[in-house]
């Protein structure tokens, strides 16, 4: 979530979650299951506990490897600007710098 706030700051110069291009899905709270999703220019990068998936924007998730329905809480991400890796910042992506538990890395 701090990553979302940091990304939102990069976009809006204030604190908000509305324009962040990274999101931690939290719609499956009772199952303790979440993923980190990043919107790229043409793909969604989805980091799940069991592994990483890069999916073309516009493709549906329901048929994907039998994983079931996608987390609806990530839907707003599709309407947002893609990640620019905080290209105007010397120290690189803010989401990496502000993740309090070091959950994000860049390969």
């Amino acid at each position: 979530m701090a990553c979302e706030m940091a990304c939102g700051y990069h976009r809006d110069d204030g604190f908000a979650l509305l324009s962040s291009c990274i999101m931690v899905t939290r719609g499956r709270e009772k199952k303790d299951y979440s993923a980190v999703v990043v919107k790229e220019e043409e793909n969604l990068v989805i980091a799940r506990p069991e592994g990483l998936e890069r999916r073309k924007l516009g493709s549906t998730g329901e048929s994907n490897q039998g994983k079931g329905k996608e987390d609806a809480s990530a839907k707003p991400l599709l309407l947002r600007e893609p990640c620019d890796l905080c290209s105007d910042r010397q120290d690189g992506p803010l989401c990496l710098q502000f993740c309090p538990v070091n959950a994000i890395s860049m390969g």
Partner: protein, 439 residues
């Protein structure tokens, strides 16, 4: 109030269904800073109407490390004392972005109601569909009907509806740090729950400087004495009740509250393989342990980790404080999970461990992992703890994390508040606010 604020307070009268919006007066912030500094002020203003005040700290929901905290300030229905309960996980953050800095709930509703607070709008809605449901069912019902799984719910179960002294206001499906019976107060007001969701934008007086300072602070904090540790097990070891081996077989993952570097919560799987990485096909495979003392209470009855966690889950469904249930079960000689579960409604009596202070004892009364340079005989622990909690509840810092991070100094938080708001806060102002709160 221009910065780090929605500049709005909602005054909600459940008796008349009237809602008034007030601006958050900048002079009030200058004098009281935020969090419990202001919830106490609002409580005094409306105390004749037995209000419940929801609030956030001045720095809640920002990039300040551990800025996760919101709070409920109200009168403990059993003792009559004004107390504060912590709102952690994502509830404090969501309240901050709901479009209101503070919410005053006064009066008693003529019939069951709930509040829907979102994007600067507060609505009082009929709760006839959810009154009588347990905490889990009510949370599911609200999220399903609004079509938004990220809504944060502060709600009560049957314990609150029936006026139990130990009724708790839960956060979504989980126990909270409400050790004051605020769930009973919700029930007396016929308030089933408060649903929160927000998309606000908080502006910052000096954004680049504020974010630079936050980044520097986080870098320092990450190397603190908690580094490499996580979860309820480590917390237990730090307070001298090591349950790590006992709990380990059922641990699924650990979970941090918003922007908090140490995960103070542990999810256990009870009906599923804890090692499972992919999504469980079961809808309710386990429970998120958010309160170490409830777990320790059940362990003392001789129960296994799975039995204890299952009882914690039952307590959260009913919306009752597990710490009280464990203590009263012990006194009543009940040690079997089934008989404890069946006796929730009947367990009564004074608690030996009844919280006596202003801040919830959900946060352990001592430093955790870290060295705060206190005398080794413990003589200063309580004064230190009160002040440390006051600081956390004013600025909106996670109250347990505040006990493990000496880097989060009063000076640093005051400086961040000044940079973020453009108001000139001083250590004298903070000192005055703290003294008023813990007097």
């Amino acid at each position: 109030m221009e910065y780090l604020s929605s500049n709005k307070i909602a005054i909600i009268d459940l008796g008349t269904s009237k809602i008034v919006h007030e601006k958050l007066d900048e002079d009030l912030v200058r004098k009281k800073i935020g969090g419990v500094g202001i919830t106490c002020e609002l409580y005094e203003r409306y105390q004749k109407e037995d209000p419940i005040i929801l609030g956030t700290g001045l720095l809640t929901g920002t990039l300040v490390p551990a800025s996760a905290l919101g709070m409920i300030t109200a009168k403990n229905p059993s003792t009559g004392k004004v107390c504060h309960a912590p709102l952690t996980l994502y509830a404090g953050m969501e309240l901050k972005y709901s479009g209101f800095d503070y919410i005053v709930i006064k009066g008693n509703a003529p019939k069951p109601m709930y509040l829907w607070v979102h994007d600067g709008i507060a609505d009082i809605l009929d709760a006839k569909e959810i009154w009588g449901k347990d905490v889990w069912e009510a949370t599911d019902s609200i999220r399903d009907s609004m079509g938004d799984a990220l809504i944060q719910v502060l709600g009560i179960g049957k314990a609150g509806e029936s006026g139990s002294d130990f009724a708790q206001v839960c956060i979504n499906y989980w126990a909270s740090g409400d050790r004051w019976g605020f769930g009973k107060l919700f029930g007396q007001k016929k308030l089933k729950l408060v649903a929160l969701r927000g998309m606000s934008l908080l502006e910052i007086a000096d954004p680049e400087e504020f974010v630079r300072e936050c980044k520097e602070l986080l870098s320092t904090i990450k190397n603190g004495s908690f580094a490499g540790k996580q979860g309820i097990g480590e917390l237990s070891a730090a307070i001298g009740e090591d349950i790590r081996k006992w709990l380990e077989p059922i641990i699924h993952r650990h979970l941090s509250c918003f922007n908090t570097p140490f995960p103070t919560n542990t999810f256990v799987f009870l009906d599923e393989d804890p090692k499972l990485l992919k999504e469980s096909e079961k809808n309710e495979p386990g429970f998120l342990i958010t309160d170490i003392y409830g777990l320790l209470g059940f362990k003392k009855l001789g129960l296994s980790a799975a039995e204890s966690s299952t009882l914690l889950r039952e307590c959260a469904r009913v919306g009752i404080d597990a710490v009280a249930i464990a203590e009263l079960s012990q006194k009543a000689g009940k040690t079997k999970p089934e008989e404890i579960k069946k006796s929730f409604a009947d367990l009564k009596g004074p608690l030996e461990n009844l919280a006596k202070g202003t801040f919830s004892p959900w946060a352990s009364p001592r430093p955790i992992f870290a060295d705060f340079a206190l005398p080794p005989d413990g003589s200063q622990n309580l004064n230190w703890w009160d002040r440390r909690q006051a600081m956390a509840y004013i600025f909106g810092i996670h109250p347990i994390f505040a006990l493990m991070s000496p880097e989060l100094t009063e000076e640093k938080l005051t400086e961040l508040a000044t940079i973020g708001t453009g108001l000139d806060f001083t250590s004298e102002t903070l000192d005055q606010v703290v003294r008023n709160i813990i007097k």
